[in-house]
């Protein structure tokens, strides 16, 4: 894989997919707007727990620093009853105080402004929640910025979840020998995991920078890719990438059967973080690799 594209992909969550500007139309208020050009969205039938297929849309997020409110605009919001709201703008979400590093703004009830729709035709939403966090890491001598955005809102017995189509996280990667599972784990905080989901294909890619699947890989700085992985979602709004069968990872844009991967289980909670575990048969042994990576990893936050 071409590292130049990888690096761009890593930064894409903050730059290519999002553009921001300061809007000072109202001279009394300072407002910033972020535009998310590629967002994932799916719904959950709260009565049955059935989830819809992933689809793609776009959204924008507004922060009014003067009024201390946030707003979310979702484009082409398709409701379960078949209605599509072309541009639903939720305003006046109030930030909740917390010391987790996340900015969480909520509204118990909210009726969005929808262009071209009379107010009477716009449903009321409940439990509107917008979570956002910015985080950074160093890669190839550059600082990369991650911007995680997650929205959940409920109407008509369905909860709708929206997030970026890519996310990356870092944390403690633990590598244990499968021959000696009770032995001490090799730990490293160097790896960065980037998830990208293609909703139209229902496939995901996991890219691991400075991958460590065995202790001997710690100093090699290899960039490894898991491609074409099946994707599913759960009623809690999480995205799952699971493949129990053995597959070949990609290295330098070519599959590498030399260290097959199996029993992959990855959970991406857009409002929390990424958790991944898999087995790898590397040279010199079989290893279990796991990493639990909250998006606020490394931030000086409270519990």
């Amino acid at each position: 894989m071409n590292s130049k594209i990888l690096l761009a992909g890593l930064a894409a969550t903050a730059t290519l997919l999002m553009s921001s500007c300061i809007n000072n139309d109202d001279p009394k208020d300072t407002i910033s707007t972020e535009n998310l050009s590629s967002a994932l969205i799916f719904s959950v039938d709260n009565s049955t727990g059935t989830t819809s297929a992933l689809s793609t849309t776009s959204a924008s997020f507004e922060t009014n620093y003067t009024q201390l409110t946030q707003g979310v605009t979702i484009n082409n919001l398709k409701l379960a009853d078949g209605v599509t709201l072309p541009k639903a703008k939720f305003s006046d979400l109030k930030p909740q105080s917390n010391n987790t590093g996340w900015m969480i703004s909520t509204a118990a009830t909210a009726t969005p402004e929808v262009e071209g729709f009379p107010e009477s035709m716009v449903p009321e939403f409940t439990n509107v929640r917008f979570s956002s966090i910015n985080h950074t890491a160093e890669l190839n001598g550059q600082t990369v910025l991650g911007a995680e955005r997650a929205v959940s809102l409920t109407t008509g017995g369905h909860t709708y979840y929206l997030c970026c189509s890519q996310a990356w996280a870092t944390g403690v990667t633990k590598v244990r020998s499968k021959e000696n599972p009770s032995g001490e784990a090799f730990e490293s905080t160097n790896s960065i995991y980037l998830i990208g989901v293609d909703a139209t294909k229902a496939k995901a890619t996991i890219q691991i920078y400075r991958a460590i699947f065995a202790p001997a890989m710690a100093s090699l700085g290899l960039d490894i890719e898991f491609r074409d992985l099946p994707v599913s979602v759960d009623p809690a709004g999480r995205i799952h990438i699971d493949q129990a069968e053995t597959f070949d990872p990609y290295y330098d844009n070519a599959p590498n059967p030399a260290f097959p991967i199996s029993n992959l289980s990855c959970t991406w909670d857009p409002a929390s973080g990424i958790n991944i575990v898999f087995d790898c048969d590397a040279k010199g042994g079989s290893y279990n690799v796991s990493a639990n990576m909250p998006f606020n990893y490394g931030m000086n936050v409270g519990s």
């Binding site: 071409n2 001598g141 400075r210 100093s219 090699l220 700085g221 330098d252 844009n253 590498n256």
Partner: protein
Amino acid sequence: MNRYILIFISVWLCVPVLAASAADTTRHRTLRAVEVMGVKQDAGVQASMSTVTQAGAGELRRLGVSSTKGLSEIAPNFFVPDYGSRMTSSIYVRGLGSRMDQPVVGLSVDGVPYLNKDSYDFDIDNIERMEVWRGAQSVLNGRNAMAGQINVYTRSPWSGPAVSAVAGYGRGNTARLGLTARKRLSETAATSLSAFMRRSDGFYTNEATGAKIDFEKQGSLRWKTSWRPHGHVSLVNTAAFSMLRQGGYPYQETATGTIARNDTCFYRRTTWSDGLTLSWAGRRIVATSLTSVQYLDDNMTLDQDFTTADLFTLTQRRREWGFTQDLFTRGTRGSYSWLGGVFGFYRPSRMDAPVDFKDQGIAQLIEDHRNEANPFYPIEWFTRRFTLGSDFRTANGGFALYHESRWTHGRWTIEGALRYDFEHASLDWHSQCTTGYRTMHVLPDGSREVYRENPIEINERGHMAQSFGELLPKLAVSYSLGSIGNIFANAAKGYKAGGYNLQMFSDVLQQKLMRLMGFGMAYDPDEVVSYKPETSWSYELGTHLSGARWTASATVFYIDTRDRQLTTFPAGTTTGRIMTNAARARSMGVELTGSWHPSESFVATASYGYTDATFLKYESAGISYRGKRLPYAPQHTLFVSAEWTVPFSIAGTEISAGADVRGAGPIYWDDANEVRQNFYATMGAHITVARDERWSLRLWGENITDTRYATFYFVSVGRAFLQQGRPWQAGVTLRLAFN
């Protein structure tokens, strides 16, 4: 080693020794008019408060010294190994030295400071005097005189015969020719023009081609003019030009014991300089202006793997200018004397340094490693040769203010000095590479099909800059013992400038290439190539003694070096080295010198240096080297010489015969102290027939015991190499002088 030390100690005990003086130690003591203009370091008073080795023209001629390398071991703890080419002027003093950009020893010729250590190694004819000042000399000489200062003074056009010539021939088809013409243009002006050439076939053979590998051809011109238009005003201008072409780099692979490579190695250099010294001398004050311009144009091309394999080659082409201006005044008022001045310099440079990867280099260094990790999808490079290109523009400039004051009260002399040195360094770099590879897929039947094409295009530019300022104090005190000598002590801060190690850029580009292939750690170029200044505190305690027929000096020293500049591997990695100021070291030792001339016909000199230099703090790739000895610098240096002169009854001639022994070691070649060269000694001898200064014929021999020793050792691409010291040499030198 013990045997050599025992011999030396026996000689030292039997021969009362004194400090080597600036006086001509040959039998014929001809007083010469020495041009002292532009001299900041006083060979008399200041030398009594420092440690300095001075050699006059006669002694230099007697020992066959015509370059700074020739004083190696003669000055104790002063070691200049002869390896590589004339570009590799690595000078070690008291354990301190540098193989990289900035030297630890300054060099000036007739007051003109040489800004680039790559031009330090050259032959000069007509040397009047050479001095090796040891200890921190940064107060008067500024940047890069952290461990010492070498001053070379050429003969004044006012003195000497109208025409002098030298011709010599020796083993290795080594020939030298020199011609100097002096002319008094008027009562107030004199000029001299010197031409010098030297050629040699060399001594080492490239087994792959059968040709000598260390051939050399060099030539130089020096035009010196002195004008005294007024009783108080004098000017001296020295213009110099030199050209050099040599093979060099006779590195022998230790596994095979042979020198064999298939690509060319050479070093070509052209330099010219002009230095103008203008002095105005009043009753109590002398004001001096020293202006110089220097130009260096060189090309170093190396078979970088030094084997017959087609791995990779390096070329480094450079053009550099240097401008210096030094304005200083010195004066005396009763028991108080002082010197103060301002110095500025500017040094712009352009360098082009491509690295060519060749067939086997691509295979062994890139393809094999990559394909071992994924043999099912191996890669094949587009072409069997590609270039990692780098070009650079650097500019260094700075200024300094300095002052030195000295008081004498009774037997006591106290000296205090301070220098503020400011420097700004900038680098504009451009890296480019157009290449690529294809990923193949190995099919079940063993055949291959193209899986993917991977073009690589690198074209990046960057700019870096940094500034640093240093305050450099010095304090010295001397107590006179009357006519017999003195005791002195001094403490001084030394300074080696920061900058950019351009040779590290090949690492940056290689890491970039690896990154584009999906592995390795890419580092910020600034982090990889830049380094901050290195500083030291130097302390000395010593004595200079002399009698009617002997001189002796002894010095003990301690040097604390901080922020030592070196290359390391960051913790946890074994690839991707970076420049850093990562180490602290200390060096301590003793130096003894002496001479004895019991009669007009015999003179003996000796010097011994001991240095214990170790790392106090240094870590690379997670390994600590604390307590390990600093590599490349010898622990002991030894020099002993004796000469007898016998008058001959025919036409006023005399015959002199002399012998000398030089020794150095042990020398460690690596930070871990796992490989070393033991102490070794070489012997020289000569017989000279001379008549006054009209003519002399000298038969000489160097390393007549044909001692085998290594002058350099390194590891490259998993192979160990060393360079052997030169084998025995012998020759004849004829000197003629006409008035």
